[in-house]
């Protein structure tokens, strides 16, 4: 008689590598690493099936600290390398770790195309709005006029909104969270992990050395309730410490309203993350502090076939139509003749 021993469930510890974490003390990256390591065991995936691929930058050291298969690649190219991993091996669970410089500047092209193809990758973009590893130049998400070592009179290029880029590229799952709301980040990462297709998660992450306090104005605990809005599927857009504020559609724009005095929740926009149209997700993710609360949560969550499964499907179909490839036949194809 044989007994089946259930595998011991994995724990956070199983996903910690033996490498010493070398981010600056106080960096927001620690939190993202910790939340990821907490979430991974919950996914019921064998550890050897995970692959973390990163580019270059502070965030991209991430794979060294996670005890799975990992690839710390070159600047901006992680989505391309991860596409090769996932397209060849759909059985693997592939994550991409990138930053605002890595993913949106040098690697912008690859990021757009992997989202457009709906490759089944989980992408976490650490957005600290600065180049950290090269010691403090402005990044594609830095605010206009940012004074840095490379822009002593202030930057003169307009920042990109990563969520807008992801929506425009037709990513099938688009979300945002931030480093100091650990619970929200965990929930968001779990949802991203369970999504089939490209899941893009932007995480606001504080760089306490070169851009300290970039998000403090709205993420700090004492102001957060009034300055951050948690977007939830099927629910009206309500926020505020007393849940007394909301977002209402006025023409093609959103406006902040105070509930009461004839305005109720039924007047507010009810969020639909599954809307096939990108309009609502675009409108809401465009909101910025200080004129509006900063939206976090899942902006878009739709379903369509993934690149890797379509590719595998074509291989299967081709075998059904032509039979398993026969080398003898391949070599002898076309017009042939024999010399005696």
């Amino acid at each position: 008689m044989s007994t089946t021993i259930a595998p011991t469930p994995l724990t956070r510890k199983d996903f910690e590598s033996d490498q010493e974490v070398r981010w600056c003390p106080g960096c927001g990256d620690y939190s993202i690493l910790a939340q990821t390591q907490k979430v991974l065991p919950e996914l019921n995936v064998p550890r050897e099936k995970f692959v973390f691929v990163s580019g270059i930058g502070c965030s991209s050291r991430f794979p060294y600290y996670v005890n799975t298969y990992g690839f710390h690649s070159i600047h901006g190219r992680a989505p391309a390398i991860a596409t090769g991993v996932k397209a060849s091996r759909p059985d693997l669970f592939v994550w991409v770790v990138t930053g605002d410089g890595d993913g949106l500047s040098i690697g912008g092209n690859h990021l757009v195309h992997c989202m457009r193809r709906n490759v089944d990758l989980k992408i976490i973009l650490f957005n600290n709005r600065i180049y950290g590893l090269t010691k403090g130049q402005y990044s594609p998400t830095s605010e206009f006029g940012k004074k840095t070592k490379s822009t002593p009179m202030g930057s003169i290029d307009y920042p990109v909104n990563p969520i807008h880029l992801a929506i425009a590229a037709e990513a099938t799952f688009v979300a945002r969270s931030f480093d100091i709301d650990t619970k929200h980040m965990q929930e968001t990462l779990v949802r991203a992990a369970k999504h089939k297709g490209t899941a893009f998660v932007e995480v606001f992450q504080n760089c306490n050395i070169f851009n300290d306090g970039a998000f403090k104005g709205f993420t700090d605990k004492d102001v957060r309730d009034d300055r951050v809005i948690y977007v939830e599927h099927g629910k009206p857009l309500v926020y505020g410490k007393n849940r007394d504020k909301g977002l209402r559609l006025n023409g093609t724009n959103l406006e902040v309203v105070t509930l009461g005095n004839g305005i109720s929740e039924s007047d507010l926009l009810v969020y639909n993350e599954e809307d096939p149209s990108p309009v609502m997700s675009y409108l809401v993710s465009a909101l910025e502090f200080p004129h509006f609360p900063v939206p976090v949560g899942v902006f878009r969550n739709i379903s369509k076939p993934t690149y890797d499964e379509l590719m595998a499907g074509q291989i299967q179909k081709s075998i059904e139509i032509s039979g398993q490839g026969n080398l003898e036949k391949l070599l002898n194809a076309g017009d042939t003749w024999t010399v005696e």
């Binding site: 090769g84 991993v85 397209a87």
Partner: protein, 612 residues
């Protein structure tokens, strides 16, 4: 109908030339396949513009296809055409200078109107001004003859005129006593969905053939007998086809599926097209967003246990450099095909050159050793594609495969190997957990283990940062870096123990040694053979298919000759490497015209080298 004389010839070189929309590549390919199946030895040189449809009738819009067919063993598409078919004035103007004196010149006189003459820069009509009297000149109204033959079809005038290349082909088939069957079969299968086109093209071909037979213009036709090729089954193959099916074969021999990531680029795209047809072999073909992504995806696939492959040309190789270096650092088996073309920059996309050798050797930051191989003929592309993978997986290294435009588009009869005679490629994935370290090397090859995701207990991280020896952990230690740089170099150097020694054609020592590499094999070998057999000159040659590392006996052979001559389609890149490595005063013979060497050019240079 008079009975016409038939003469036997040993070898003929024909060039078909016309507007890029005239179907000259197709016409040439049909003549080639017919001659191959007939049993001639053949060698071809397509030569077409980078523009898809340059302005009609213009000089830059001329497209040509040269083929050499023979009853003996030949190695090149021929130095000078014996026959030129010019479908318009521009084609005549561009190609006439190459035609041998007294050669056969056939022109489509219908195309020699005022407008076309002006576009080709002719002040007078060369058909009428006597300037072509040095040739056996046939001025034939091909467009109208063809139109007359097709009056009963339901095609438009434009469609009828598009068949005129097959009328011309028919004339040539009669002139060189070729069977029409191969082309008739091709027409049948190509246009099977449109019976009217089958009918029209068949009529055009046959009408051309019978026109040749009945017209009083041609008094003689010719026969080129079968060549005495080694016994076996043959097919005609281009370098790009041979490269692609060589990779599919390598994948079958290794028992691992192929992942081909590529971005369209001339002249490498045909490899992408060919591999995309073979999904039933498990080939995953990925058209990436750019060259960098293609390189990256190939690396990702190799990391995951596939045979990650990418293909490009020079400009694409520039873009791949950084990612290729990542494959050097992570020691993953990837193969990169570079079908070289004229450069620098966009250069001459459809013309051949071999000027990427130093880029392949050194075009990456820091000390970045990898294996470099180069096929020597279109058929050899098959063998070298398999060899690329044998080296890549055995040594866990990127391999650069340097083809060129001449090999890629040129064709020759290829003796089809038997599957059971092909070597197995051994792939070992590490599965044993005990004693696993990502950079613990095989003692003999210095290869690190290939431990693929999904293997329990072997979870590990690799990347572009310097590795600690054995553990693969990130290390900034100076001693370790020095050690690792030398280890990576030593691993590639050891491949020399595992590749064939170079063989000398001719005496093993003497006065002049000609050293070639890659696609110049045919011209160099034919030149050296002729110098030896007909001119009795003291010259030998070797041909390098392995550029890094070099074969082990190369230095020894170089030292046995008084003079070393290195012909290359660049400004002396192999010469630089050989001078640097072996301290021999090699003489460089260079040409960068976007065209292959002629045999005569190399013979002249050999004679000059012997004199000086």
């Amino acid at each position: 109908m008079s009975v016409k004389e038939r003469k036997d010839l040993q070898e003929v070189t024909i060039r078909f030339a016309g507007d890029s929309g005239d179907g000259m590549q197709l016409t040439g390919t049909q003549f080639t396949n017919t001659s191959a199946v007939f049993g001639n030895d053949i060698s071809t040189l397509p030569d077409f513009p980078a523009e898809i449809r340059a302005p009609a009738g213009s000089l830059p819009g001329v497209s040509g296809f040269q083929l050499n067919f023979s009853s003996r063993d030949i190695r090149t598409p021929g130095d000078e055409p014996n026959v030129l078919v010019a479908m318009n004035p521009a084609a005549l103007r561009v190609n006439l200078a190459d035609l041998e004196q007294g050669g056969i010149l056939i022109v489509n006189s219908d195309a020699f109107n005022a407008n076309n003459l002006k576009k080709a820069g002719y002040a007078n009509n060369p058909i009428e001004d006597g300037s072509l009297s040095g040739y056996r000149f046939f001025s034939l109204p091909i467009t109208s003859l063809n139109a007359n033959a097709l009056t009963e079809t339901k095609l438009t005038k434009k469609e009828i005129d598009r068949c005129k290349n097959f009328f011309a082909l028919g004339i040539l088939y009669w002139l060189y006593d070729r069977p029409m069957k191969v082309t008739l079969d091709w027409i049948e299968s190509r246009f099977k969905k449109n019976p009217e086109l089958v009918k029209a093209n068949t009529l055009s071909l046959k009408a051309g053939y019978y026109y040749g037979e009945t017209t009083e213009l041609f008094t003689t036709h010719y026969r080129v007998d079968k060549a005495k090729l080694a016994p076996g089954k043959y097919r005609n193959i281009t370098g790009n086809e041979a490269t692609a099916i060589g990779f599919v074969t390598a994948s079958q021999l290794a028992g691992r599926p192929l992942f081909y990531a590529s971005y369209p680029i001339t002249p490498a795209s045909d490899i992408l097209h060919e591999l995309s047809k073979h999904q039933n072999f498990g080939v995953k073909s990925f058209q990436a967003e750019d060259e960098i992504a293609a390189m990256g995806a190939a690396i990702g696939a190799s990391f995951s246990g596939y045979l990650g492959l990418t293909g490009t040309s020079g400009p694409g190789l520039c873009l791949k450099s950084e990612a290729l270096n990542l494959a050097v650092m992570t020691e993953l088996p990837v193969v990169v095909v570079d079908v070289q073309r004229g450069g620098p920059s966009t250069g001459l996309p459809t013309k051949t050159e071999q000027a990427d050798l130093l880029q392949a050797m050194f075009g990456r930051n820091s000390e970045s050793p990898l294996a470099i191989i180069a096929p020597s003929t279109p058929g050899d592309c098959f063998a070298m594609a398999i060899e690329a993978w044998r080296i890549a997986v055995k040594y866990m290294t990127p391999v650069l495969y340097l083809s060129d435009g001449y090999l890629a588009n040129g064709s020759e009869p290829w003796r089809i190997p038997k599957v059971e005679d092909l070597p197995k490629i051994e792939v070992k994935f590490r599965t044993e957990v005990e004693g696993f370290y990502p950079y613990l090397r095989d003692e003999k090859t210095l290869a690190r283990p290939w431990a693929i995701p999904g293997t329990p207990g072997l979870e590990h991280r690799i990347g572009g940062l310097e590795k600690q020896d054995i553990t693969g952990n990130v290390s900034y230690d100076p001693e370790n870096h020095d050690h690792m740089v030398r280890l990576r170099a030593e691993k590639i150097a050891r491949i020399a123990n595992d590749i064939p020694e170079v063989e000398v054609l001719g005496e093993k020592e003497g006065e002049v040694l000609v050293v070639g590499w890659g696609g110049t094999y045919g011209a160099i070998t034919a030149a050296v053979e002729e110098c030896r057999s007909k001119r009795n000159l003291p010259v030998s040659s070797i041909h390098l298919r392995y550029l890094n590392p070099f074969p082990k006996n190369l230095g020894d052979i170089l030292g046995r000759f008084e003079k070393v001559l290195i012909p290359e389609l660049n400004l002396g890149q192999l010469a630089l490497l050989i001078r640097g490595k072996f301290l021999v005063p090699a003489r460089s013979f260079t040409k960068v015209k976007g065209k292959p060497f002629k045999i005569s050019e190399i013979i002249d240079k050999i004679e000059e080298t012997l004199e000086k």
